[in-house]
């Protein structure tokens, strides 16, 4: 067994040398809407190739019908584990690849919906694949399957009706989840429902050095400022290919730090002299 989704269980199966993932559903209606999503996404000119392999029902010895479908099996690590194992150097590339995948869905006028760490598989060299399409929703419809902490509505930043910005908001939360999962969990626990807002998320992003180059980008994503995954991807790409890859070069020169320290110290001295003078006068 590979895992358990909201709509059923996923098993690893094989045909000859090829491995596939097989998902068995509980309710055939829920499973069918997932299958419809996959079908729409395995359209003709999709670079993902065909996602969906086969759809059928299995009749148990007790005579119960269990719907199932098989799809491509993607081997890899989940995004958080991948970064933990291979280093944060990979983060900009994973982000870009993920945004491009989202852009492809948005081009078909679908959103992924339930974007979260667990639903992203990263291959050997940073190739990104989305799995579990239970949350996939056509533009304009309501998102049925989502995860609270990634949800725009949960943070009081908009509706649950499907538009590209919904996925991009979740992507923003995902960035925080990668680098500060504990702080994020604590944040959502401490805040009252009505006080949750993108402000808190942006503030948390400010504390994470790895996200520093993407701060503006994240603000825009939390603000619903991108109307399409493709647009968001090209903004992300522009940042990735412009900044200095090593943080060291951009650090403040030492002489500047010394000067700043000197000016702060002298400011303090003058201020305290003034204060002394003032109190002296009063007496």
């Amino acid at each position: 067994m590979l895992g358990e989704g909201a709509n059923g269980k996923v098993y690893l199966v094989s045909k000859g040398w090829q491995s596939y993932a097989l998902k068995m559903g509980v309710s055939s209606i829920d499973l069918q809407s997932e299958i419809n999503a996959l079908k729409a996404l395995s359209g003709d000119d999709s670079s993902r190739g065909s996602y969906l392999m086969d759809v059928d029902d299995w009749i148990t010895p007790q005579g119960k019908e269990v719907p199932f479908y098989t799809m491509r099996y993607v081997k890899g690590l989940n995004m958080a584990n991948y970064i933990a194992q291979h280093g944060a150097d990979w983060f900009p590339l994973l982000g870009l690849n993920l945004l491009r995948s989202l852009g492809e869905l948005h081009r078909e006028r679908w959103i992924f919906g339930d974007l979260k760490l667990e639903n992203i598989i990263v291959g050997e060299y940073g190739e990104v694949d989305l799995i579990d399409f239970g949350g996939a929703t056509p533009f304009g419809k309501g998102v049925k399957q989502f995860t609270e902490i990634y949800d725009r509505g949960y943070w009081n930043e908009g509706s649950r009706s499907a538009d590209a910005a919904y996925d991009l908001f979740s992507f923003g939360v995902l960035c925080l989840q990668v680098f500060a999962p504990r702080k994020l969990a604590q944040l959502s626990k401490e805040l009252l429902p009505q006080t949750r807002s993108a402000e808190q998320l942006i503030e948390l992003a400010r504390e994470i050095p790895q996200l520093a180059p993407y701060r503006k980008w994240l603000e825009q994503a939390f603000d619903g400022g991108f109307s399409h995954g493709k647009e968001a991807a090209s903004a992300w790409r522009a940042i990735t290919h412009q900044r200095k890859p090593t943080v060291k070069n951009t650090a403040t020169p030492r002489w500047l730090k010394v000067m700043i320290a000197i000016s702060i110290v002298s400011l303090c001295i003058t201020a305290s002299l003034y204060a002394l003078d003032y109190t002296g006068l009063l007496r």
Binding site: D89, W90, Y125, H241, T246
Partner: protein
């Protein structure tokens, strides 16, 4: 088609991992090939595995060779990669149309047609190769051979039907630069006697950061080309 070819003789030791940089290149549609020059067998196991990994992440090939085989290898790798890129593209198309990605699955007469189209594309598609040369101290005695192999590569590229351009970079630069452009995109090397003027050899090998610079160069070049094409089109409309 876009390729980056790295010629190096050691491990990277500064900045971002070259493997990450190679994966970046691949996501921008640039295939990365790596040649490791091993004359005194000074590369070590770690260096060899890094070279292999860079090429794997960049979707290209890697070879460990001696200096005297350099020209032959560079030329061969570039050609092989062109063929491979075409094959991959054709396979992807077949997958989309037939749901099967092997050419063998086609009936023999169809197979012939497909292969013919592939040969055609291999010959006529336009190609850009950026060469990234490791100019750390230990590479010094090998640079003459590197230069020779660049001339040799240009010669075989000129024989292609399609437009072929090369650009040459070396790394590290003299003043903490990650890499330096020696030769901008060109289709010939007429009048170019020395690609590397006088290099200040330095000890560090910032392979990853240098690769990122080359990717940036590719990206900017293509974006500006597209923009000028767009402007050209708009201009026509206005007139």
């Amino acid at each position: 088609m876009k390729q980056m070819l790295i010629i190096t003789d050691g491990c990277s030791n500064v900045g971002m991992s070259p493997i990450v940089a190679a994966a970046h290149a691949k996501s921008e549609g640039i295939t990365v090939n790596v040649v490791g020059v091993v004359d005194q067998g000074d590369l070590g196991e770690y260096g060899a595995s890094e070279i292999h990994e860079i090429a794997r992440a960049g979707g290209g090939l890697s070879r460990l060779v001696e200096t005297k085989e350099l020209a032959q290898t560079v030329q061969m790798m570039t050609r092989k990669t062109v063929v491979q890129t075409i094959q991959l593209a054709v396979q992807r198309e077949l997958q989309a149309v037939l749901g099967n990605d092997s050419i063998e699955a086609l009936p023999p007469e169809k197979r012939g047609e497909v292969v013919q189209v592939m040969d055609e594309l291999t010959e006529s598609s336009s190609l850009q190769v950026a060469l990234l040369i490791d100019a750390s101290a230990s590479m010094k005695p090998k640079l003459a051979s590197v230069e020779e192999s660049i001339h040799d590569l240009m010669l075989s590229l000129q024989a292609r039907e399609g437009k072929s351009e090369i650009a040459v970079f070396h790394f590290p630069g003299s003043k903490q630069e990650d890499c330096v452009l020696d030769l901008d995109w060109t289709t010939h090397l007429k009048g170019v006697h020395s690609i590397f003027p006088k290099l200040h050899m330095s000890g560090t090998t910032p392979t990853g950061p240098a690769m990122m610079k080359v990717i940036e160069y590719f990206v900017q070049h293509n974006d500006s080309k597209r923009r000028s094409e767009m402007e050209g089109m708009l201009g026509d409309d206005v007139v």
